[in-house]
């Protein structure tokens, strides 16, 4: 039973973590709350759908990720940079507009009917007491690998150190000669890439729809905020944490009283609101009187 809870949390948490990490990285370096961040997941998924009619799925997925990265860089250059110049608020509202525009564009091109990435339907197998399908196992493995890679990149490479420097203090970093442009490009590439991986894996689980990413907006923001905006480690911990709380809350059955499954999204919301009331800077954020 516990094994199943943990397994479910790993699957759900991985999807959220990949997105939350990118979101928090971008906020950390640019003070930009990108509401459109989830659309990279949607775009990655749809790109893979299109490419999979030409290539085999793994290659299609790789091109999907690359395309998402390219679009991430392009969107920053063309849209977000200008919005940010007008202010944080304009940028946030603008990113909401971008999110809606992307969803509408995807719907315009692909229609509202779900699109599949070709895959074989498999039965779940039992691993250490938990039932998981092979594709779910792969999702967790790929996600953890991607997160580990990102962590290693940030911790040990020179580029990673520069990213963290800019996140800590952009002005000082600039004065110290850190090539801000390169750092920003790297951050967007990582963020969009991770988001695309999440979206592709999600589409492999069910299918790609225009609202694939937008549906994750609140859980991802919850995780990023609870973890402390700007903290990658916090985002990861909070993502799996929220997923675990969801699993436990849904499985709990005290004398026949249980949480109706329909309220699953509410668990994340309540978590978020409580966090904002009691500890707005998040788990690993710097304690501030006002965020």
């Amino acid at each position: 039973m516990t094994a199943q809870l943990i397994a479910d949390a790993l699957v759900r948490g991985s999807t959220i973590a990949l997105l939350a990490v990118g979101l928090t990285l971008v906020y950390g370096t640019m003070r930009f709350a990108n509401v459109a961040h989830m659309e990279f997941a949607t775009l990655g998924a749809y790109a893979t759908v299109t490419m999979s009619s030409v290539f085999i799925v793994p290659v299609a997925a790789a091109t999907g990720v690359l395309l998402a990265i390219a679009l991430g860089l392009a969107s920053y250059q063309l849209v977000f940079r200008r919005l940010l110049a007008k202010g944080e608020t304009s940028a946030m509202i603008g990113s909401l507009a971008v999110s809606i525009v992307v969803q509408a564009a995807v719907q315009l091109c692909y229609g509202t009917r779900p699109r599949e990435i070709p895959r074989e339907l498999e039965r779940a197998t039992s691993i250490l007491g938990a039932e998981l399908t092979p594709s779910q196992i792969r999702l967790v493995a790929v996600s953890l690998a991607a997160l580990a890679l990102t962590g290693a990149l940030l911790r040990w490479t020179p580029l990673g150190k520069k990213v963290r420097a800019v996140a800590a203090d952009p002005a000082l970093a600039r004065v110290s000669g850190v090539a801000e442009r390169r750092v920003i490009a790297a951050v967007w590439a990582i963020a969009a890439g991770l988001a695309a991986v999440s979206g592709i894996e999600l589409a492999l689980q069910s299918s790609a729809t225009p609202a694939l990413g937008f549906g994750l907006l609140l859980p991802v923001f919850s995780a990023a905020i609870v973890g402390g905006l700007g903290s990658v480690a916090g985002a990861v911990i909070a993502s799996y944490g929220v997923a675990l709380v969801e699993s436990i809350a849904l499985a709990a059955d005290v004398d026949g009283v249980s949480v109706p499954v329909n309220y699953r999204p509410a668990i994340g919301f309540v978590f978020l609101i409580l966090a904002l009331v009691f500890r707005p800077q998040g788990l690993l954020g710097v304690r501030a009187r006002h965020v």
Partner: protein
Amino acid sequence: MFDYLAWIATLMCVYSMIAVSLNIQAGGAGLINFGQVAFAGMGGYAVAICSRAGLGGWTGLVAGMAAAAVAGYLLGRLGRTLGGVYWAIATLAVAELLRLVISNTNAVAGGTQGISAVAPLWGGLDGIAASAARLALALAFLAASVLVAVHVDRSQLGRSLRIIRENEPLAAGLGIDVVSAKSKALALAGGIAALAGGFHASDLSFVGPDQLLPFETFLALTMVVVGGLGRISGAVAGAVVVEALYDGTRYFHGFLGLANDQIAALRILLVGAILLGFLLLRPNGIIVDRPRRVHV
């Protein structure tokens, strides 16, 4: 023909009120409310529930406005430690939570089925008289909302809010009770939005959780930005323009030879593009900015 035009005009009044409400928050105090639809929804559901319970639409309207005002006040207190994106996401979460609870509460709120056969506020009138009464009431409500908004704008509260919007620490330093000001603004804005929502419910004779989706807030935000953040007349103008564009494009199918599925997407894309365009190119909105007279 009059009936149809009156209907469109009424709808524009409803959206104008919601835009005015959002303008008080965003334009007046710099509070970006991603959950605006919840205020309107409270008004709508209050009217519907009271109507069904036999208490009458007007009771529901008052109850809805009160509930929204309280909710706004509490959200304002939440703003004590939260700014910008945190508060925006929190309001979105609250709105989604409300929609979720309503969708799953069949007994009082009708669940996903919604509440239908909501009685009109203007009693048992028919045909043209009903349309005229409906429009008259809508205009009256809009006028009242605008008056409140203008009064706030010119008052001490309005001045405090503007300082808060521009530079919150400065406002606190000047001795302004930031939280109290925000809470008051939100309470008023909530009341106005609930008025709009409640009226709309009786107009449509129906409320459902689908009316609480985030897209409605997005439309309202577009209206306020297009009209010009901070200008009340802008909010009304923006509402008229965006609503005309969004509903006007319904008649495009057939012209462009696109699949029906795609027309819906195109209209949404148009609204989104307009919002982006205005944010990037004309952040002051369509109404040319006039310098504000300073009372020394």
